[in-house]
Symmetry: C2
Subunit: 371 residues, 2 copies
Amino acid sequence: MSLTGDRRAAQPADEPTGGPRSGRRRRSGRPEQPAATIGRVAEAAGVSRATVSRVMNGSPTVAAELAARVRAAAEALNYEPSLVARSLALGRTSTVSLIVPDLSNPMFQDVLRGLSHAAAGQGYRLLVAESNENVAEEAILAVEARRRSDGLVLASPRVPEAELRAISDRLAPLVLLNRDLPGSSVPSLSVDYAAGIAAIVAHLRSLGHRRIVYLAGPAASTSNRERQAALRANCAAEPVCVLTELACGATFDDGHAAAKAILRSGATAVVAFNDMVAFGALSGLHELGIGVPRDLSVAGFDDIPFARYTTPPLTTASIPRNELGRQAWDRLWALLGGGPAGHDVHFQPRLLVRDSTGPVPAGRAEAVGER
Amino acid sequence: MSLTGDRRAAQPADEPTGGPRSGRRRRSGRPEQPAATIGRVAEAAGVSRATVSRVMNGSPTVAAELAARVRAAAEALNYEPSLVARSLALGRTSTVSLIVPDLSNPMFQDVLRGLSHAAAGQGYRLLVAESNENVAEEAILAVEARRRSDGLVLASPRVPEAELRAISDRLAPLVLLNRDLPGSSVPSLSVDYAAGIAAIVAHLRSLGHRRIVYLAGPAASTSNRERQAALRANCAAEPVCVLTELACGATFDDGHAAAKAILRSGATAVVAFNDMVAFGALSGLHELGIGVPRDLSVAGFDDIPFARYTTPPLTTASIPRNELGRQAWDRLWALLGGGPAGHDVHFQPRLLVRDSTGPVPAGRAEAVGER
DNA sequence: GCTTTGTTAGAAACTGGTTACTCAGCCCGG
DNA sequence: CCGGGCTGAGTAACCAGTTTCTAACAAAGC
């Protein structure tokens, strides 16, 4: 028995010819040829593997005639370089990962698209994972996703800061979405929810509203906390502003269910956690015979694609979701090149005044002693 | 110069200690340790690489004490096995790819989610690519995505059949969405659009409608062609059915713009290419003062999440989008195991009768000589 | 004509894991 | 007391590429 024996030598010689040995794992089904490797192409072309590699990578240091021969051999064998082997040799996978809490959220869908497009421009592909299910394992998921790729874009509002800090260097190159890691050098892109809320409140005030009800999102949500805090701060700054808060949620149905409570609050304007909730509120109020914006004004947040099409079209704060993905790629690309990632960005929402907000109904402005 | 020289020997010895050599590519930023390899762990634990590998993979043939030592060494070095090297050795990446034409389409968003979840259950991750941009390169994209992973789910309505057939064995294991490859063994999951259209038409007929207008989707879209063909067939089967077709599109705005043409058609019912178009039509008709379903009935297709929330809520045909993704994974998983993929599935849409369809207005039923 | 320079292309080391095979050591029965 | 069976761990081949170093050869210069 040969000491240099191929460990597959024990397999039955089931190849019809003495030809190429079969791939380790063969699929059932089609006859399927043995998956050409660089070695087999080299053999067929009568050159070394190094030369094949050079030809496949367009190195100019190969004589034209030889290169043609190699290409012909590659073609004939249907050769495709193994990207895994290439990744190993190069130490680079040309893949980046994106982790989002919830793929059904339009926000992250657009981030996904923006990131995917931008990354594709540099030949990078995107690995996607949703962390919705097991919040506890979010950090593990992040580490694992990062290991499969060259970099990570992480939108993870729920991982505790200490834990995130502990693994942040294992995740680098890393770009954070919608949260930051104070004192670290991890680039972070976020939306200035406070500014968006401020714009909405200013708009409502300019219409004369002094009593506002907030339909709060999930308590665990960072973005809800930010929006809520901004709302409180903005109202506190205005002596004649009354803010009511209703625990609500993040869905259409949550907003819909809140309609009666909205009326009971006595407010003249509704600020919803997001557009879906606003949308639900619109629907619930409609069923109660309340006119919007005639009797009550309603504002959302996010500017999801459908916000333009509700009846009435929704006043909301728009955030550049695609841009968020694109810029995340810019940051990550910079980090991948070893350079600095550029400044953090705090995206400013843009107030979109549509038809769901209007002046305070006559006779209700003085409810809190206005003027 | 040593013949066994490390090719990195020429690099400046910038390590602060004589310690571990640095990783080939170092990032700027954090100090960053040298990325432990299995060899370094083996060295630290005083065992062979084989033993480290066995410990990391939970092989029971390692003495408990030794295993503990290895684990301690791995821990101390912050060792994480390279998934790329692992993939190369195992001939398996534990990644599958999904290619969709358009990530903004709710249909594919749900397929993405369903597939991602299902695949995660078996430890597989998902690589996502959108082929929207360059239709011409869709086939190339598919091949490339497939090469980075172990299998492919392809929703590619526009690649010509001949071309798809030509590359289908390079793409295997492959699962097709919303198209098939007759005569091949490639599993295919699709939606029976014809059945959905038939259900809608039957519903409209039962309400007395005999004049239907179809707001056609993009001409290049396979699903539009199927819906259109089914509509023609269904109407042809009914002697007293008049079908008008309007070139429209796939967006809200397309539907909105079609409102006047709808009225001119004299039809009593509208069948839209999809929900977005129906939604737009609803809006446009509303602006023209047309009551739905009082004056005109409107039906959509797809049951996108918002269809429940339009005013009036949209009658439409629902397709099990998540299920499509899940089943795609089932098929792919079977193929990855080398087994047969199970039967093709033709998902049957479910008619959801909501409020946007109603009886033909009095006085219009006889427009085509009914009864 | 002989050295110098410049191309090419090959040999071999390298990426970081996995695993078939081998063998040392131990326990036990004959 | 010796051979056989079992266990645990090491050796080395292997996955499929990339790249450094080296050497052969040709052309150019002196």
